[in-house]
């Protein structure tokens, strides 16, 4: 487990967060979920590395509060 970068890479993290918020503003729950699913596919392909993708899946699958 070492290829996934979890250090912040955005020069302005607030702006990146807001971009994600605004993408779903005024969307229904179903439409927002569909948006997120497409985003996952687009970004996974952009990364193009199965090891990184597997690490990201593992991190996202950890229950909240579990130690790391």
């Amino acid at each position: 487990m070492a290829k996934l970068v979890t250090a912040s890479r955005f020069a302005n993290p607030d702006a990146a967060y807001v971009a994600l918020v605004e993408a779903r503003r005024n969307l229904s729950d179903a439409d927002a979920a569909a948006l997120d699913t497409k985003l996952v596919l687009i970004l996974a392909n952009h990364i193009g590395d199965l090891d990184v993708l597997s690490e990201a899946i593992a991190l996202a699958s950890e229950p909240a509060g579990s130690p790391r």
Binding site: T6, F10, P13, A15, Y17, L20, R24, A32, L59, R68
Partner: protein, 534 residues
């Protein structure tokens, strides 16, 4: 409920005895922190000021409590900085929790060598009291309580005001009117001006309690704490064993019912248990992120909440208002004295709208994080919070308010750099403070040794510069590093990238407007004129 109140007497003015309106150069409406700061700053620059306020007291509730480093530097120049820091609670650490777990801590002033701390907490009425005491020492300030602005007639070169008093109405003429009359500005209403921006629906309970507790002197913010399920909470220490608690209530809360003391006590008991506490002040508020389209309307200039409003998370309201006051004061004084062109007043609009937009942007983003607008936005926010303990990128997105720092003006008053400068000093920003030693050996700081006017800071030691000083243009005071002040520890040199012979032109509001590796009288004169809007 206990309230700290200072009362001031209405006094009849001579202006009320005359038939035709008496004429003044500058009238300010609103004797809050922003109006008082503007009045003192103008008066220190030799401008006589009439300051009107519709009330006759201050101090109902703590209201604003967090005063930023830049505001304290301004207040220091206005003569009250040191006493406020002595009276206030100094802090610089913030902690952000999710549930009961610490997500991260931040240090707002990780470097040494500044006279003023990152922040103090101090009840607004103490700050107002200090400013009123200071204003009363200055003959140029005529502070009139129970003088309510009732009418405003715009003229080509000024305004005519109608003012209501306990003795009936009277009129005044003014070349310039400064509207510092707050979020519900009367001046704005009389001119029929509206705001552009967003009103947020979420309601917040704000409470000051008196309590003996040894909680740390930090800003503490919780997302979804057990003591206030599903919402956010903020706690701050103030002097006199007073603590500020701010609880998010959601959009559907009933603002009247939520202020009932029993209900407030029940909510706070969960937060503060097992401490006993007394309620000092309670309010329920919603907030806006919005501003006027322009702050300058002919001879009427808006400053502070009358011009723009933000959420309280980030301490960007009153702090930005005091920075408005400082930005306007020297410009208006220069225009009234005929030294500055009227373009200077236009530069107030340009510079302080940049600052307002920056503050509104931060405030809106913080609010978007704290108060998601929909289930889909809440899921995104909660995902960031869930990842935050595990991934640094997520911690950087957690937003409990980005605390006030001064804007860097992209300004027509600045002369672009000819050569690059390293260090932390930026064109269009307040000069960074640094420790210095005076010729008599006493220690001090750079900013407190600057005066109210333009200043040229020159670093001794460049080749054959010694006689060039005779040609520093009129209207600029010079400070020689190595003669008037000494940089014993090298921090000033580092922050200003001050190589021998370098010269820095500083505006009357301590903002850097030009700098050179070598002094050149012609270039300094040109930069000075440019900074005066000429």
């Amino acid at each position: 409920m206990h309230k700290s109140v200072y009362r001031y007497d209405y006094r009849r003015s001579r202006d009320q005895e005359t038939r035709s309106p008496v004429h003044h150069a500058a009238v300010i409406v609103g004797a809050g922190p922003v109006g008082l700061a503007a009045a003192i700053d103008l008066a220190q620059r030799g401008v006589s000021v009439v300051l009107l306020d519709d009330s006759d007291r201050i101090g109902e509730g703590s209201r604003g409590i967090c005063w930023s480093k830049r505001t304290l530097e301004i207040l220091d120049r206005l003569g009250v900085g040191e006493r406020l820091v002595a009276r206030g609670v100094t802090w610089k650490l913030g902690k952000v929790f999710c549930g009961d777990d610490l997500l991260f801590a931040f240090d707002l002033l990780p470097e040494e060598g500044h006279k003023m701390p990152a922040f103090i907490n101090l009840q607004q009425f103490y700050l107002e009291k200090a400013l009123i005491d200071r204003a009363s020492e200055i003959a140029h300030i005529d502070l009139r309580w129970k003088n309510r602005l009732a009418g405003l007639e715009r003229r080509n070169d000024g305004v005519r005001l109608t003012i209501e008093t306990p003795d009936g109405p009277y009129r005044l003429d003014a070349d310039w009117l400064i509207a510092a009359d707050g979020a519900r500005s009367t001046v704005r209403g009389l001119l029929g001006l509206g705001f552009s921006g967003v009103t947020f629906e979420d309601k917040f309970l704000i409470a000051d309690v008196r309590m003996a507790a040894d909680f740390p002197t930090e800003r503490r913010f919780w997302f979804a704490p057990k003591f206030h399920a599903g919402q956010s909470a903020l706690m701050h220490r103030q002097p006199d064993n007073v603590w500020r608690v701010d609880l998010q209530l959601g959009p559907d809360a009933d603002p009247i019912a939520e202020q009932e003391p029993e209900r407030v006590r029940a909510r706070l008991a969960k937060v503060l248990a097992p401490h006993e506490f007394e309620l000092e002040w309670v309010s329920v508020y919603t907030f806006n992120c919005r501003r006027l389209d322009r702050f300058v309307h002919g001879r009427v200039v808006f400053i502070g909440d009358a011009a723009h409003q933000v959420s309280p998370f980030g301490a960007r309201g009153a702090n930005s208002g005091i920075q408005d006051a400082e930005n306007l004061a020297w410009k208006l004084a220069a225009v009234l004295e005929g030294e500055g062109g009227e373009a200077l007043i236009g530069s107030y609009d340009t510079e302080r709208m940049q600052a307002a937009d920056e503050n509104i942007g931060h405030s809106t983003r913080s609010t978007d994080f704290m108060s998601p607008h929909s289930p889909a936005e809440r899921r995104l926010r909660d995902a960031v919070l869930a990842l935050a303990p595990k991934a640094e990128f997520a911690r950087r997105m957690v937003n409990s308010g980005r605390l006030s720092v001064p804007a860097v003006y992209d300004s027509p008053l600045s002369t672009p750099d000819e050569t690059p400068f390293a260090g932390t000093a930026r064109l269009g920003a307040p000069l960074p403070d640094a420790p210095v030693q005076r010729p008599d050996g006493t220690p001090g700081h750079l900013l407190e040794n600057l005066r109210d006017g333009f200043e040229l800071i020159w670093v001794k030691g460049g080749a054959d510069d010694s006689d060039r000083w005779q040609r520093v243009p009129d209207g600029i005071r010079r400070t020689v590093i190595g003669e008037d002040l000494f940089d014993r520890v090298g921090i000033l040199a580092q922050r200003l990238d001050a190589t021998p012979g370098a010269a820095y032109l500083v505006r009357p509001d301590q903002h850097l407007c030009a700098r050179w590796r070598r002094f050149d009288a012609g270039k300094v004169a040109a930069a000075h004129l440019r900074a005066l809007g000429r």
